[in-house]
Structure formats: structure tokens, C-alpha cells
């Protein structure tokens, strides 16, 4: 069953086309990686899917709901996280989760046990009553991820979720992605620069280059499409960069 669909999403800023007719679909329980160099259009695509940007043309669907036609229904099924999202400074993690639970209109009876469950899952208990401004980067990341899941969404969209994190916090995020997709059946789409993360986690990938989706499929399919033996070589081949220039 398809739970994320990018239906020819296009975004123009004046004369500049940031995303040009990007089409892909992601199935339930699948981990989909969106790859591309800086400025390729990954973040703009994810922001259109999350409803933060209005497409110039095309349509995005989350769990069967059009983000443009039924934004509230689509957002209710969506958990969105980017590396640069912060937390409210003067709320503690428990209040933060409760606040967003209320915004997502999680029924009161379900919200309290859900918040406690997330606090337990993500090891937030030791700092649950501490204001977010006093949390470490790793503690903030755990709280942010828990916030993404407070309404039990079917789809989780992560825009460069490991950017700026140390190795421990990054590992935590990667384990979280695998867990929610493979154990809880959620659909995950995430953008990254790190090919290792993609190799480790993704069922399928899409490579965006200069606003266009230039490859789509499993890692093996992308390698076959480019005739390259590794994903790294396939990636450089697709973005027209010789690996030797970079290495």
C-alpha cells in the first residue's frame, strides 16, 4: 500500500526551478532515502510533502490524503523532523510532548500513557522535568524524535536528521529509523548526504540532481541503471562528478 506519493511536485522561486516534476511513491513500512548534493532540491521536496511549501504544480499525498487539498488530514498522519528544528526553551520534554499531543488532538485518555511510553522508549526519564534549553544535543534529539511520534503517525519524514549530531546521537537516530519502520510498520522517508546511512537502512532510494529525480529504485537497481559497481560510484556518475576529483 502506497503511503507517500510525490506526484510531479514542482517548485519555482521566481525564475529558479528548485524542484522539477519529481515523481515517486513509497510503500507502507518502507525506508526511502532521498540523496543528492547540496541545493539539489531534497529539502524543498520534503517541505512540499510536509505542507511547509506550496508546490507550483503537482501534488503530494500522505497516507492517501492530498497535502494540498486536505492538509489537516494529511498532517495528522505525518511526523516531520529536520536537523534544524529546535524545542521550546521553557517547556520540559514531558510538557513538549503533551503540547504537541494536544495540537494533534490525541484523545486525553490516550495522551498521558502515550507520553509516558515515549519517555520510557527514548530514555527521557532522567531529564523529563528539565527545561529544553538546558538539554544536551543528544537529549534534544531524543525529545524531538519522541515529539515526531506523539500522535502515532503512519508516515515519518526526516530531513537530514543526523546533520550536526555526534556519532552517538547519529547512531541513535539511525536505530530509531529502522525500529519504527521494521517493528512498527511506519513509512520513513529521509534525506541525507551520507551514503553509508543509505546503504545500511534504505529499501529504496531516489537521487535528486539539479532539481530533477535522476534515479529511483533499490540500491541494486540504481547500480544497474548506471552500470557502476557501488552506490557511491553510481551517485557520482549520476551527478556528473568524477569520483577522483573528490577522493
Amino acid at each position: 500500500m502506497i503511503t507517500i506519493q510525490s506526484n510531479a511536485l514542482t517548485k519555482k522561486f521566481g525564475d529558479f526551478t528548485a524542484v522539477n516534476g519529481v515523481r515517486f511513491a513509497v510503500n507502507e513500512g518502507e525506508i526511502f532515502g532521498l540523496l543528492g548534493p547540496n541545493g539539489a532540491g531534497k529539502t524543498t521536496t520534503l517541505r512540499m510533502l510536509a505542507g511547509l511549501l506550496t508546490p507550483t504544480s503537482g501534488e503530494g499525498f500522505i497516507a492517501g490524503h492530498s497535502m494540498q487539498q486536505e492538509p489537516l488530514k494529511a498532517r495528522r498522519e505525518l511526523g516531520f523532523l529536520t536537523g534544524d528544528m529546535d524545542l521550546y526553551r521553557r517547556l520540559n520534554p514531558a510538557e513538549m510532548l503533551t503540547y504537541f499531543g494536544n495540537l494533534y488532538q490525541v484523545p486525553k485518555k490516550e495522551l498521558k500513557p502515550r507520553v509516558e511510553q515515549l519517555i520510557d522508549w527514548f530514555g527521557i526519564t532522567p531529564f523529563r522535568d528539565r527545561y529544553c534549553e538546558k538539554l544536551s544535543t543528544g537529549q534534544k534529539q531524543r525529545t524531538s524524535i519522541a515529539r515526531t511520534l506523539v500522535h502515532n503517525p503512519k508516515v515519518v519524514v526526516l530531513d537530514e536528521p543526523t546533520t550536526g549530531l555526534d556519532i552517538m546521537a547519529s547512531e541513535f537516530v539511525l536505530q530509531f529509523i529502522r525500529k519504527i519502520a521494521k517493528e512498527q510498520g511506519k513509512t520513513v522517508i529521509f534525506s541525507t548526504h551520507h551514503l553509508n546511512e543509505v546503504k545500511r537502512l534504505c529499501d529504496r532510494v531516489g537521487i535528486i540532481h539539479q532539481s530533477n529525480l535522476v534515479a529511483l529504485g533499490t540500491i541494486e537497481e540504481v547500480k544497474a541503471q548506471t552500470g557502476q559497481p557501488t552506490l557511491t560510484k553510481a551517485f557520482f556518475d549520476l551527478v556528473n562528478v568524477e569520483e577522483s576529483i573528490i577522493m
Partner: protein, 410 residues
């Protein structure tokens, strides 16, 4: 719009505001204590300073003619004056040593006139508080002596005091004391009140818009299943609450400070003459206008500061916003500007004029209703504008917001 969502946002914003000790001190507690303390300190300092000035000794140089005049006794009675006789050069007086010069010159009189007359010159430096104050005191004493001598001369000639004032003018103000006070207060109180509302709201408005953009928490809100008008209403209500609380605290503080000042000045009687009365109907319109102007100022403030991407950038919008309030206020206090069906249509000006009329106690309920309706319309326009700006995707994603992007669809 769903009120449960608005209430959730409103409560969260207020919780964060109340947990920010700096904001609570600056917006609520500081104003409450600032004015009474400030007024009391200024009152005490100025009264002790006056006492010091009055007690300080001053050297007074007098010419020979003074010694034979009745002025000499007056100068001798003042223990703070050290009188030195002899000729002196007025330009050579050393003002740093608290020195005053006083000389008497005879006036050439008509031979038929038997009355003696003098010119008295007092030389002092007006930039020195002590010499200026002492020169004034000597002047007052000479004036009293003058009146005394005049009365004696009139009596000697069997003349009444009316002889010198053929026409006596009595101006009778028919306005009740409360209305006179109302006119005075009505000129500056609305300005102070709206200024307090603005200063109370501005930093909260910045914090929950530009501040949130800077801290990158706004996107989290926009990916939630909530509508932009719900976000802006929740945030606006928090700003509105702080604005009203700030205005009330400032006003109470100012009233308290005023009473303390009057007490310090020894004016038990002063209070009754400064009484201000507002009828219950006037109070109703006053509260309504304060609330509506808070909505308007809050809406405009939110709409403007949300354009900024950082706390620092938003600071540069504070002065233009202040001018937006100040210029209509100055216009409204100009002589001859009154509340009419035309001026009732001008935003801010109408509020100032309407409040002024309420304080005087002479207002037309129809005009009050018109002003309220216009204030409501402007408040709604401000909120809609804030909502449009807030919904702009450049605001959502923390990008620079251009005027072109506000009114065009991508």
C-alpha cells in the same frame, strides 16, 4: 477555528512568558515598582536638595546706598546671607563662590512728587541653583516690602487699593473641577496608556514570532494539523493578555506613584482638587476602547515583527512602530482637534480623542459607538494582515520575507 487548539497554543505561550523571569520582571513587576520608587526617590532627593540650597550661605555685595534703605534690615535678617558693603563691579562677581550683588540707584523724580523711589539691581548667575534661588528669595522679600510701602502711601493719601487697579478682572471657569482635571489628564493619559500597552506587548510579540523563527521552532508548529488563523489567534491572545496586564500594572503603579508624590509634596488638600470622575457609562466606553486598541496594536505589532527573521532584526522595527502610535497621538493633542464623525474614522487618533472626551465627561454615545466600530474594524484588518503574513511560506521556512512575496502566489 477550533478553540481547543487556540487555547492550547495560548496556554503554552503564556506558560513560556511566565517562566521567563526577565520578561516577568521587565513587563510586569518592574513597572509596578518603578514609578512609586522613582517618584519617591525623586521627591525625596529634590526636597532634600531644596533644603540644602536654602541653607547654603551666600555672600551678598551691596553698595553704600543699601545700608540706609529698608532693604538692609531684610538682608540682615537672613542668616544665610553674609552682607559685605562697598562698591563692586557686577561683571567681576565670582559666581563660583555663591556671590550675589545688590545695588540701589535713586530715580530722578519730579520735584512735585514727594515719594521716594529706587531702582534695585540684583546681580546673580542663573546657571547656579544657589544664587538663582537666593536672588528669587530676595526678590520676593523686596516685593513684599514694596506692597507694604505702597499700602502705607495710599493710606497717607486717603486712597483705597482700588485706586491702582481701576479694572479688576475675574475669570470664572464654569467647567466642574473634574472636567478641568479630565481635560488635563485626557491629553496625556491615553498616550501613556497606549504606550504601556505597546511596550508590554512588543517584546512578547517579538519572542513568539521572530524569536521562534530564530530558534527554528516555528516549522514544528506548521507541520501540525492546525490552521494558520488558529496559530495567530492563540499567539495573539497571549500578546493581548500581556498587553492588558502590563497596562493595568503600569497604570496602577502610576496612580500609586502620583499619590506618593502628592503626599511627599505635603499636599493632603491637593488630592481632592485633583479628583477625576468618570461615569459608569464612560468607564464602559473607556474599557471597551482600551481593549479594542490593545487588539489593534497587538495585531499590527504581530504583523510587523513576524517579518523579521531574528530577535535582533525585529528590534529595528520597534521605533517605526512607536512612531506609528506617537504621530497620531501628537496630532490628537493639537488645539482645535476634536472628535467628529470624520476624525472618528482615523485609526489611533479616534481612540485618543474618544478617551479625552470620556475623561472630560462630555461625550456623545453615538460617536463612541462609531469609534468603537472603527477600532474593531481596524483591529480585524490588523489581525487578518498578521494572519496573511504569518501564512507566507517564507515566514514558515524562516526565509527573508519580501513585500512581493506577501501578495503573490508562487
Amino acid at each position: 477555528m477550533r478553540w481547543s487548539i487556540i487555547n492550547t497554543i495560548y496556554k503554552k505561550e503564556l506558560t513560556e512568558v511566565l517562566r521567563d523571569k526577565r520578561t516577568v520582571y521587565l513587563v510586569i513587576l518592574l513597572p509596578f515598582f518603578l514609578y512609586p520608587v522613582m517618584f519617591a526617590v525623586i521627591g525625596l532627593l529634590s526636597s532634600s536638595q531644596m533644603e540644602k540650597i536654602n541653607q547654603e550661605s551666600v555672600k551678598i555685595l551691596v553698595n553704600e546706598d543699601v545700608k540706609t534703605s529698608p532693604l538692609y534690615a531684610i538682608l540682615q535678617q537672613d542668616s544665610t546671607l553674609s552682607v559685605e558693603e562697598g562698591a563692586f563691579d557686577p561683571n567681576g562677581l565670582d559666581s563660583t563662590k555663591n556671590t550675589i550683588g545688590l545695588e540701589i540707584q535713586d530715580i530722578q523724580r519730579d520735584s512735585n512728587d514727594q515719594a521716594q523711589a529706587f531702582n534695585v539691581n540684583i546681580y546673580y548667575n542663573s546657571t547656579k541653583d544657589v544664587t538663582e534661588s537666593r536672588a528669587n528669595r530676595i526678590n520676593q522679600q523686596i516685593e513684599a516690602l514694596n506692597q507694604q510701602l505702597l499700602a502705607q502711601r495710599l493710606e497717607e493719601r486717603n486712597l483705597q487699593s482700588d485706586f491702582l487697579t481701576p479694572i479688576r478682572v475675574n475669570k470664572v471657569d464654569l467647567a466642574p473641577p473634574a472636567a478641568q482635571m479630565g481635560k488635563l489628564i485626557g491629553r496625556f493619559l491615553p498616550m501613556i496608556l497606549l504606550f504601556f500597552i505597546f511596550t508590554g506587548m512588543i517584546y512578547i510579540a517579538i519572542d513568539i514570532t521572530a524569536g521562534e523563527k530564530e530558534r527554528q521552532t516555528l516549522q514544528t508548529l506548521f507541520v501540525s494539523p492546525i490552521k494558520v488563523p488558529e496559530i495567530i489567534t492563540g499567539k495573539f491572545l497571549a500578546v493581548f493578555t500581556v498587553g492588558v496586564v502590563s497596562a493595568v500594572m503600569n497604570l496602577l503603579s502610576l496612580i500609586l506613584a502620583f499619590f506618593i508624590q502628592v503626599k511627599l509634596m505635603g499636599g493632603g488638600d491637593g488630592l481632592s482638587s485633583m479628583s477625576l470622575s468618570v461615569s459608569s457609562q464612560g468607564a464602559f466606553w473607556l474599557v471597551l476602547l482600551i481593549l479594542l486598541s490593545t487588539v489593534f496594536i497587538g495585531g499590527i505589532t504581530l504583523a510587523v515583527v513576524v517579518l523579521a527573521n531574528s530577535y535582533k532584526e525585529s528590534q529595528s522595527y520597534v521605533t517605526p512602530l512607536m512612531m506609528l502610535l506617537l504621530l497620531p497621538a501628537i496630532f490628537a493633542t493639537q488645539p482645535g482637534v476634536e472628535l467628529t464623525a470624520q476624525t472618528a474614522l482615523i485609526p489611533i487618533v479616534n481612540i485618543f480623542l474618544a478617551m479625552g472626551e470620556i475623561f472630560i465627561g462630555d461625550f456623545d454615545p453615538k460617536l463612541m459607538a462609531l469609534v468603537s466600530a472603527m477600532a474593531l474594524i481596524y483591529a480585524i484588518i490588523a489581525l487578518v494582515l498578521a494572519s496573511i503574513i504569518f501564512a507566507n511560506e517564507n515566514v514558515v521556512t524562516g526565509q527573508k520575507v519580501s513585500m512581493k512575496s506577501l501578495f503573490s502566489r508562487s
